[in-house]
Assembly symmetry: C2
Amino acid sequence: MPESAIRPRKEFGKTIAADITHRLREEIIACGLPPGEPLRFDVLRERFGASFTTLREALTALAAEGLVDAQEQRGFRVASVSRQDLVEVTDARVLIEVELIRRSIARGDDDWEIAVISTLHRLKRIEQRDPEHPLRDPEWKIAHRQFHQALVSACGSATLLAIRAELFDRAERYRHLSANFRPRPRDKAGEHQAIMQAAISRNADLAVQLIETHIRSTADNVATYAAHLLDTE
Amino acid sequence: MPESAIRPRKEFGKTIAADITHRLREEIIACGLPPGEPLRFDVLRERFGASFTTLREALTALAAEGLVDAQEQRGFRVASVSRQDLVEVTDARVLIEVELIRRSIARGDDDWEIAVISTLHRLKRIEQRDPEHPLRDPEWKIAHRQFHQALVSACGSATLLAIRAELFDRAERYRHLSANFRPRPRDKAGEHQAIMQAAISRNADLAVQLIETHIRSTADNVATYAAHLLDTE
DNA sequence: CAAACGCGCATTTTCGAAAATCATACCGTT
DNA sequence: AACGGTATGATTTTCGAAAATGCGCGTTTG
């Protein structure tokens, strides 16, 4: 197997451009590239080992997702953050996620229930293993994302799922923004458990109410602990 | 003025890539490039007069908007159409547009009212001038888009407006798809007038109901008259 | 005869150099 | 000293050639 020996440069997707898009997205969400940071081609070229054009393609895709700002003839920069944007993302998430939860509860079959239960189980196991600073654990982030994805996966609309995924990414960036200043993570395990139970027992109204609270309280937390980062823009 | 003499290649935006993106988008929406059509670089290169890389950037952006399908290592093609996709786009539009109309009615000021009234006025004048086949008239298309844009423009969320714009484009492509087979356009002028009046008089429930009917009946029309194009995919 | 392999062509994808554009500092004039 | 214009350097944007990849066809093999 020569691939593993030669150390392939592409780890996600088949094309280098798709791989770079993925890696850049992760870095921006994790605030490794902070909001407002200029994305100069020289720097990116060195860091990601790709050419101008390939990087340009990746940045264009991320600009369409709202994670990068494209200023024509003056390059790209990481999308800036603001209280207004946080409110918009939060409201849009509530609007869409509430609808998708209702549809999934109405349409979900056995496989859906299994997916919800098993992704929550994995999330809880990871939380037990290392209960502090979950956002710094890549495995927790993936498991957390997959649980919320599973909840809405039976909605039947790929279109709305794609929109939801974009908004989830933008919200996760705000969570990372405040993670370094938040004294202790609040008890999300209980919230996730309650959401799962409401969904599985097909109690749509309760599930919707719990999800909305979950999203809004997380956003409130960000607004509180990242206040100094949101007002100076 | 040398620019007008030399005939500038960029007509929209400052960069060639943004210009090509805009022109490609228009052609795809108008079905000048039919659904499923492979987008080979040789052909596009000749038609748009740009290089591989610039075209690639434009196609990547349109793929993020859902108007182009990117198949890694196997090129791009115009996004295919289907009954399922039409239903998804329609449902998503209703969900979002209804919310934005409510917010605009709640928040709209004098400028908003003026924008709604004046864009409708222009739309009606264009319809009087040439009452048949409105979709073939570029001016009607622009005026129609601007009226619907004005209705929701006071919602206060750039995030949701961007999502709405993407869905509007995807829906407009379906309208073009059926335009050639629809015997006669139904009376949209009356619907637009009623929506305007409900919005201006701040009757949110009525406006929401009219908008939903407007969107769904248009989609039903497409599903009927473009049925042969939707089932053979 | 069917299936699998390898070769060659068509097409996409990537690259770095060259052109275009923007930002800044410098200079001369008022 | 303030202002306008211009040269210069830094950066982005565009280009076409070169490399990589997929696809179809013909050949071989079981």
